[in-house]
């Protein structure tokens, strides 16, 4: 029986918002895929921070990044999944950062591990980076909500989008 990649929900920002959140995520899928296209109101870049079920502790992350002139790897974050960065105010107008996060076994009672990629490209000499990330959260609850927010008190600008898919 052929089963689909189902769109659970999608959001397009119409005016600046502090976060994008998907709630009441149904439990009938095996895995989740989150796609996003984001631009923030920070100065140069905005971190893409993802939390689930309102949990704000127990996260760990490893990132591999390449900026075109340098490459590096860091470990960071205990309060969120760190999913790269998006363009912001000083970056080329109308450029948004795209990314995807794969979330397997989201209804299990295990700790949650995720994998994500993001691109921040704006045809300039600064703030152009490709991000590959690994994330782990020690919380074992089934994922029923996901929130995407920038660092600090910044916001996502109009025309930022996020879509949540379920895989059967």
């Amino acid at each position: 029986m052929a089963l689909q990649l189902f769109k659970i929900a999608s959001t397009t920002v119409e005016s600046p918002v502090t976060n994008i959140e998907f709630t009441s995520i149904p439990s009938g899928y095996t895995d989740l895929i989150l796609h996003y296209s984001l631009r923030g109101t920070g100065t140069n870049s905005n971190e893409i921070r993802i939390t689930y079920n309102g949990v704000t502790s127990g996260y760990s992350n490893i990132e591999l990044y390449g900026s075109g002139s340098s490459v590096g790897s860091i470990s960071a974050g205990t309060a969120y999944f760190y999913a790269g960065e998006s363009p912001a105010v000083n970056d080329t107008a109308n450029t948004f950062g795209s990314g995807t996060m794969y979330i397997p076994n989201y209804t299990s009672s295990n700790q949650k591990s995720v994998s994500s990629e993001a691109v921040e490209e704006n045809n300039s000499s600064t703030n152009n980076t490709l991000y590959l990330n690994a994330g782990l959260c020690t919380n074992t609850g089934a994922i029923t909500s996901i929130k995407i927010q920038p660092d600090g008190s910044f916001t996502w600008v109009a025309n930022s989008t996020a879509t949540l898919y379920g895989i059967l």
Binding site: A2, L3, L5, T30, I62, L64, S73, V114, A134
Partner: protein, 174 residues
């Protein structure tokens, strides 16, 4: 009429309830365009996840990788292995007792003309040393259609709770 979207079909799924050395997907139908294998391995002693196709243990596998492990000097690397008897599905983020993810895309797996390639992402957020992020390009030098995939560790066995899911992907209509 809206274009048909690409379809993921769950071919087989296994969650281990006992310690197991190898999980094998066999009799994979040739009716899809690509395969997508998702593995959440659990193991002791930081073992690598490895793949073999069609029970081929010959030195017909190679990979090129870029990896980051969040610590050490430097905290990243790129390299390759050639003429291996298996295909690595991680390199600097091996499986351990923490939850982690392997995403393995195997393109055009059923053709009988070309060698088979895979794009692999491995994500293990265990703090350095032990975890890592890998992006891997894999090659199996065989023109045979892939009908069997064996998933193992470089040593030891998968622990109970490890999860393995194989999807077939159908192309969408233009």
């Amino acid at each position: 009429m809206p274009a048909k979207t690409g379809t993921y079909t769950l071919i087989s799924s296994t969650t281990l309830t006992t310690t197991t050395a190898t999980v094998t997907f066999s009799s994979i139908p040739a009716t899809y365009t690509d395969l997508f294998l998702v593995v959440n391995p659990l193991s002791t002693n930081n073992r690598d996840v490895i793949l073999r196709f069609n029970s081929d243990t010959g030195t017909n596998y190679s990979i090129t990788f870029v990896s980051g492990y969040g610590g050490g000097t430097p905290a990243y690397s790129s390299g390759r292995t050639t003429n291996q008897g298996f295909m690595y599905a991680d390199y600097y983020g091996p499986s351990n007792t923490s939850q982690s993810v392997r995403q393995i895309n195997i393109m055009d797996y059923s053709n009988t003309t070309t060698y088979k390639t895979a794009i692999i992402r491995s994500s293990n957020a265990t703090a350095y040393p032990g975890g890592g992020v890998d992006a891997i390009a894999g090659l199996w030098r065989s023109t045979s259609a892939i009908s069997t995939i064996a998933v193992s560790l470089s040593a030891d066995s998968f622990l109970s709770g490890s999860v393995f899911k194989l999807y077939g992907i159908e192309a969408g209509n233009p």
